[in-house]
Symmetry: C2
Subunit: 452 residues, 2 copies
């Protein structure tokens, strides 16, 4: 270990190799506090050459490393579970001047999501991905996990924002493809491959990100439905009938009641419907709201009058009902968080199955189900004293049988590694392993994540 | 060769191993007639297991193979240049029942683009990618080359349409990831990696494709600008100012004059402006056209009155001016077709540089420049007796110096292989080679394409 630490110091300077147990403790535990490990050193390279040097030292010393950004992941993918070196991207936080005509910006891996959002907003643009951890989550970590959020429906996840990437692979190669061109069929899609690879192939050091225009205005509506099936079909029809739909979020009556009690707010009457969909539409507000009213009128199973908000304060009031779901769940006890995708046709049956299952295995638990219904992505939060891993297993089993995905957004990490071979075909996993061996032949990159 | 042919016949049946030189001649020459090769056999597997068997036979006999769909590529990537076996996807042409609620359809690699479009339209949906070779181009070939077209601006290229993929890799693994989920962070992005790999990693056998709603109506306008720079900025501003812009196509006065003479049509007065942009907007026509007029009024450098069409016949009249560019170029002599992307800020200078360069190297040639300005993607067609590869080289040199891409849509194929290492970093190419070795260890997959 002293040799390793000394060698790392020659790469990044002594000041950027942290070994004090008190100082590195935060980097050894994940945000959910479910996974804790230990590390001989947290290194903070200041540029791509230093990252390359750190990887070379780790290969030489046969020590694995875990890349770490904001450490806000939910599947234990960014902590050193078995004594790996932590490569922190903290110092790779530069955000370049926004290219206004090219609608893009170059950001270091360690830049925060909020930093990129502010840079874009300063010139009247916006970054299309948003999520609650924006002040802490880093762009590098969000790319490595292909993060999503509430606007994937319209703009796609992080992979769809990537116009270029710089990274150092586990085999020492430096990928550098940063021209920021929207169309470029010159070789394999390295940005897309590294995006979502969870640090198992290399360390992302910088990316070029597309930006989108700020909308002239935004309208938000809550629409009530007589059933979950009506809500799913209604959401899909709304997206087809009106342009500029940015978010379609499903909430259920029991979840909304828990949120209302937790936040001590009164619910709009529409929110007592069995299923409620929050619709956000961007563009010309007047025209869109008229459209929205017409389109809602054409749907089956609509209950009550939609609650509509055009001003920022009103929109925030409606959005808080959706955004308070995780904290309302947390207030019920330890939360088991599942993040799954289902084919639209089976969502109603899935919710019934999960409720029945929770009633059977964890009868005292709260089960909040909500999420991005436009993408088929549901968050299942089960909270209560008697909830254990058996609940996760049982729910993921239902997801798999229903033809869904066990990870819509959060990734596999260490949490769902054991599941990978159950939900992906043997040929898929063989291809993953072949790619892993090719780009990280010594297996030093984030060995506890993704591949079992 | 008799052994090989017999072994292939055991895989697919004798009737599907074609060896008659007259019968296979068409498969040995590409659509542009620039590349011609020879093959011991064209094999037509009828399913994924037969594809797997054909690949196994080729590996055993140490013979390479070239996957071939509609053979409409423009870079010589689908012909057996050095005696490879041709694997035709012709029989893999099934199109499943459209999943209307899931907004998707499963298509075999050999299904035509038009076939998918018709299936989608039959249930009121559409497939977002369109291009002129729609009746012949196959879905498998379009995925393998990440094909684009006129609506990439709004919907992305083929990679953005992929919800799932089935393929047999060069190493014999069968990739099968066909749940068709919009969000699925379970491992490396195999669909995105195979898309654009030009048949060098494996044979795509089927895909799940996303579909989008049919718009209520479509408006098309031609807007004239005083300069190319004004047109580029104007196009980008229009896309930001109004929702639902589906296409932004740049045309220049000299090109439009050639088109008008070739087709014997009168040009609308706006088309005599130095630069003209065709704008297609989908959605509610009345609202959009009002928006469009307002947004155009706010731009700098607009010349004359925009020509607007709301009905199908009028739209087709405006679109034909753009779509007739390739044939008008072909009427001037042998065409050298370049397909490049440039940063928005340098497009005006690039056009001037290419015109100057053509005037110097090929003074008698016609030089038509047009394309998808919303993506920075220009098509450069140089036609005339004295045009040779020197012109291509000189133009690609300008593209590279300007920070552009030498292939926006068409791919590298065999045509631009020699350029790959000039425009991509050594680390990028090393990563390509490592991935190639991992997934196609014997190097039997399309050896003449992409990697030099």
């Amino acid at each position: 270990v002293p040799d390793l630490v000394a060698a790392l110091a020659t790469c990044v300077g002594e000041a950027h190799v942290l070994t004090d147990p008190g100082v590195v403790a935060g980097d050894c535990t994940d945000w959910t506090r479910r996974w804790t490990g230990r590390t001989p050193a947290v290194v903070r390279p200041g540029g791509v050459d230093e990252v390359r040097a750190v990887i070379a030292v780790c290969r030489e010393h046969k020590v694995a490393l875990v890349p770490q950004g904001g450490n806000t992941g939910l599947v234990g993918g960014s902590v050193p579970l078995k004594g790996e070196v932590v490569l922190s991207t903290q110092r790779l936080d530069a955000i370049a001047v926004v290219d206004e005509l090219g609608l893009q910006v170059i950001a270091g891996a360690g830049a925060s999501l909020a930093g990129v959002q502010v840079a874009a907003a300063a010139v009247g643009l916006r970054f299309a991905v948003d999520l609650a951890a924006r002040d802490t989550a880093t762009i590098g970590g969000m790319v490595a996990t292909n993060a999503g959020g509430t606007h994937v429906l319209r703009f796609g996840s992080m992979r769809a924002q990537l116009l270029g990437i710089e990274a150092v692979l586990g085999n020492g190669s430096v990928v550098h493809h940063m021209r920021g061109l929207r169309k470029d069929n010159t070789g394999y899609d390295l940005p897309g491959l590294l995006c979502g690879s969870e640090g198992t192939l290399g360390v992302i050091t910088a990316v070029s990100l597309r930006l989108v225009p700020q909308p002239a205005s935004i309208a938000v509506a809550l629409v009530g439905f007589a059933s979950i099936g009506d809500a799913v079909r209604g959401a899909i029809e709304l997206d087809g009938a009106i342009g500029g739909v940015e978010a379609l979020e499903l909430m259920l009556a029991d979840g909304l009641a828990i949120v209302a009690a937790h936040r001590s707010v009164a619910l709009p009457s529409v929110a007592t419907a069995p299923a409620t969909v929050l619709v956000e539409v961007a563009g010309d507000a007047a025209a869109r709201v008229e459209h929205l009213a017409g389109a809602v009128g054409a749907l089956r199973g609509v209950v009550g009058e939609p609650a509509v908000a055009l001003d920022a304060a009103g929109r925030a009031r409606l959005w808080q009902l959706r955004e308070a779901h995780p904290e309302a769940a947390a207030a019920q006890g330890i939360v088991h968080k599942l993040d799954v995708t289902l084919p639209a046709a089976v969502i109603e049956g899935f919710v019934a199955d999960v409720r029945a299952l929770c009633g059977r295995i964890a009868p005292g638990a709260s089960c909040l189900i909500y999420g991005h219904v436009g993408d088929g992505n549901l968050h299942v939060n089960v909270a209560g004293a008697e909830v254990d891993d058996q609940v996760d297993e049982a729910i993921l089993e239902v997801v798999d049988r229903a033809g869904g995905s066990i990870s819509a957004e959060h990734g596999i990490g260490t949490a769902k590694k054991a599941w990978l071979e159950r939900v992906r075909s043997p040929g898929d996993v063989a291809a993953f392993r072949a790619i892993k061996r090719a780009l990280d032949p010594d297996g030093i990159m984030n060995p506890n994540a993704l591949l079992p």
